[in-house]
Amino acid sequence: MFKTHEKLERSTIGFAVAIMIAASIGGIIEIIPLFTIDETVEDVPDMRQYTPLELAGRNIYIREGCYACHSQMVRTLQDEVERYGPYSLAVESKYDHPMLWGSKRTGPDLARVGNKYSDQWHVTHLNNPRDVVPQSVMPSYGWLLRTELKYDDLDRHLAALKKVGVPYTDDMIDNAVADAYGQSDPESDQASGVFERYGDDTNVRAFDGDRRKLTEMDALVAYLQIMGGLTDISQVQTDDVNTVTKNISGE
């Protein structure tokens, strides 16, 4: 074995190729099957896409690096299920390009935060977290309320997402800009289109409390309120949707 290696280490290209082969095997075996094995992601009929406004909010969440301190992945552990809610399923982040499961909880997990607090609570909290949670170490995001949302190019965002596999229809892409506005102003003409395209359960309201102005706060709160709400499947969690329930079946 060491004799062969003496030969190998005399060849530049040979050595480089050997490294490539040795390093490729692990990734090939662990990653490719995730695309081919059907059970990897559960099949759910009621899973919906993000609305343009929620998507814009998600992009703000990414921009501000929220994922560095908040995970979006409730693990299959009893205490987590009791603290945050039903454990997360693969299908719930099926349309997340990229996923935001996170790796650190300086603050709590947010996978189930949707509809847990009021819009007003979120607005106050984001503006200055210590107004509602005095001990909080979260930064204040004062500029969200002050900054108008840039939403005139959301159709192109939806089109890009369609290219990577999110099933946005042409109708959704064409009306993305109007839908973004409509979702935050229930009294506008554009509001009805949002229900039509994304379902009657879609949150349509002035998230930041002011329906005349579409701010970054509107978008971010719209996103926070839909977390965990793209499908109802997680509320069921029977044995046939996931095989790892034994971890939470304890006491």
Partner: protein, 541 residues
């Protein structure tokens, strides 16, 4: 040729600036254009300086290495400063400006990328050029490519860091730069690989030395990881924003396949390359075991690529992948400890030097931290342990025991060895300052790591604690409050480490500038002139 490249950079940047009006990508376009024109000016300016002597082919080409060392030191100062700043932000969340760029979430990637890519990357590129030439007895094949690599790479780091401040991020951990920066880095990286292979082709030593195996693994595997993890569709050419090709569970696996192997091939393999050259050189002892080197090299190259999934225990990732990740993580301890052991056993017979020489002590402590962090890594990868440790500060402590204890210490040891050689000095300006730097770095690291062990384990235990009635004992915010003393300690430890880096740069600058340390002859052997360079030399004679 250099002018042409600079001009391309200038025009390319300008084009990006124009089509990206109103988007952060436009700002980056003008930044690139500015750098391009600045380079053009410098190149034209250099036409007035005297022609370089053709004799240069009888010497190693070390100017890019010198630049890389200084840049690495500048980056580590910036990055640890930002790191310490955000550490204090967790103690005093109000102690910042009311603006996006100064908030924790945007500064954090400046810290992480600054340390990994700014500091680590520059140190690796610089030392790899140096080691490659010495161990091959060959000069780098041309003068332009190494400069393109150093300048291009630092431009990438600059785009990345300024982008984060403007909110440009792909959110992929340790791969946050957006698509255009990724493409640019890919070009630079391929040039780096080609330069490495071209130089090895010219080598006058029959065998490729161990350090070069690691540097090659670092370059090749990072290229593979970077390309696949970065696959994305941009919104348009005028948008910085792109959407990852992968989603959900597949994206999670790809990101941690990348993420953990950035640790493996950037922060481990590359720095092992450094260790395998500078440690034996400084200690004046041969590597303890050649066979152990072979086993640990291939062990690391093969096994590491399996372990990324241990970041996703108990998640929606299928359990078979989690189990594979955990199993390979445990096996990985064998080659890891083989490397650490090989390094420490090399010091046998030189322990008196370790006692007296702070530079060698930096490298010794690095090997110890490498051993400790890899043990801790395998331990944390075990599912039930991970149930407690994951999402807590324990992970942060683990990363820093690797980054501060191993990566930074081996780099400082190597830099203090290298600087007097490169600038032709007898020794560093002040041994005492190296000693001060050493103790600040070691104390800072230990304070940091202990603080995070405490906070991480307390967090984990509080989250899962039940009271007598069978309900959760603590609210989340109670666990946040309990962290305060540890966050103060961490920020203090980080400050010690930061202070050490400033002293380090001061010492290096003083060494370079000193005249009384001057050496008459360069300390190392000359390269053997390659046939393609022989003509240049002949015409000169």
């Amino acid at each position: 040729m250099a002018m042409f490249l600079a001009l391309c950079l200038g025009f390319g940047g300008f084009f990006l600036g124009v089509i990206g009006q109103g988007d952060p990508i436009g700002v980056h376009g003008y930044l690139i254009a500015f750098v391009g024109y600045l380079l053009l000016f410098l190149i034209v300016h250099s036409f007035y300086s005297p022609n370089p002597s053709p004799k240069r082919v009888t010497r190693y080409f070390d100017d890019p290495t010198k630049a890389g060392i200084i840049l690495a030191m500048l980056w580590v100062i910036i990055a640890t400063f930002v790191g310490d700043w955000i550490a204090w932000l967790l103690v005093f969340p109000e102690a910042t400006f009311d603006a996006g760029w100064s908030s924790f979430g945007r500064l954090r990637p400046v810290h992480t990328s600054g340390v990994i890519f700014g500091f680590g990357g520059n140190a690796l590129i610089a030392t790899s050029f140096h080691v490659l030439q010495r161990t091959s007895r060959a000069r780098l094949p041309d003068q332009l490519t190494p400069w393109v690599i150093i300048i291009g790479y630092n431009l990438f780091c600059l785009i990345a860091a300024t982008g984060y401040l403007m909110g440009v991020t792909s959110s992929k951990e340790y791969a946050e730069p957006e698509w255009y920066a990724d493409i640019f880095l890919t070009v630079v990286w391929v040039l780096y690989l080609l330069l490495y292979l071209r130089t090895l082709k010219r080598r006058k030593e029959p065998h490729i030395y161990v350090a070069n195996w690691y540097f090659m693994a670092f370059i090749i595997v990072m290229a593979i990881l970077h390309v696949f993890n970065g696959l994305a569709v941009p919104v348009s050419l005028g948008h910085a924003k792109s959407y990852s090709l992968f989603s959900g569970v597949q994206d999670a696996m790809v990101q941690w396949w990348y993420g953990h192997n950035a640790v493996a091939f950037f922060l481990t393999a590359g720095f092992l390359g450094m260790l395998y050259y500078y440690l034996p050189m400084r200690a004046q002892r041969p590597i303890f075991s050649y066979r152990l080197s072979i086993i640990s090299f291939w062990g690391i190259t093969f096994l590491y690529m399996w372990v990324g999934s241990h970041h996703l225990h108990y998640t929606a990732l299928p359990q078979w992948v989690q189990t594979l990740g955990m199993s390979f993580s445990i096996i990985l301890l064998v080659p890891s400890w083989a490397s650490a052991g090989n390094a420490l056993l090399t010091l046998n017979g030189a322990w008196d030097k370790v006692r007296d020489d702070p530079t060698l002590r930096f490298m010794m402590v690095a090997a110890i931290f490498y051993g400790l962090s890899t043990f801790e890594g395998s331990f944390l990868a075990i599912r039930p342990v991970n149930a407690l440790s994951h999402y807590t500060d324990w992970t942060v402590g683990h990363v820093h025991s690797g980054a501060l204890g191993w990566v930074a210490m081996i780099t400082f040891g190597s830099i203090y060895t290298l600087v007097p050689w490169l600038w032709g000095k007898k020794e560093m300006y002040s041994k005492k300052l190296i000693e001060v730097h050493f103790w600040l770095a070691l104390a800072g690291t230990i304070i940091y790591v202990f603080a995070m062990w405490n906070s991480g384990i307390i967090q984990g235990l509080m989250w899962r604690a039940y009271n007598g009635e069978g309900t959760l004992a603590y609210s989340f915010i109670e666990s946040v409050e309990a962290m305060k003393p540890y966050y103060v300690a961490r920020a203090f430890g980080g400050f010690c480490f930061f202070l050490g880096t400033v002293i380090g740069l001061y010492n290096i600058v003083k060494t370079i500038k000193s005249t009384d340390l001057e050496l008459a002859a360069p300390p190392d052997k000359e390269p053997i002139v390659h046939s393609s360079d022989a003509l240049t030399l002949q015409t000169a004679e």
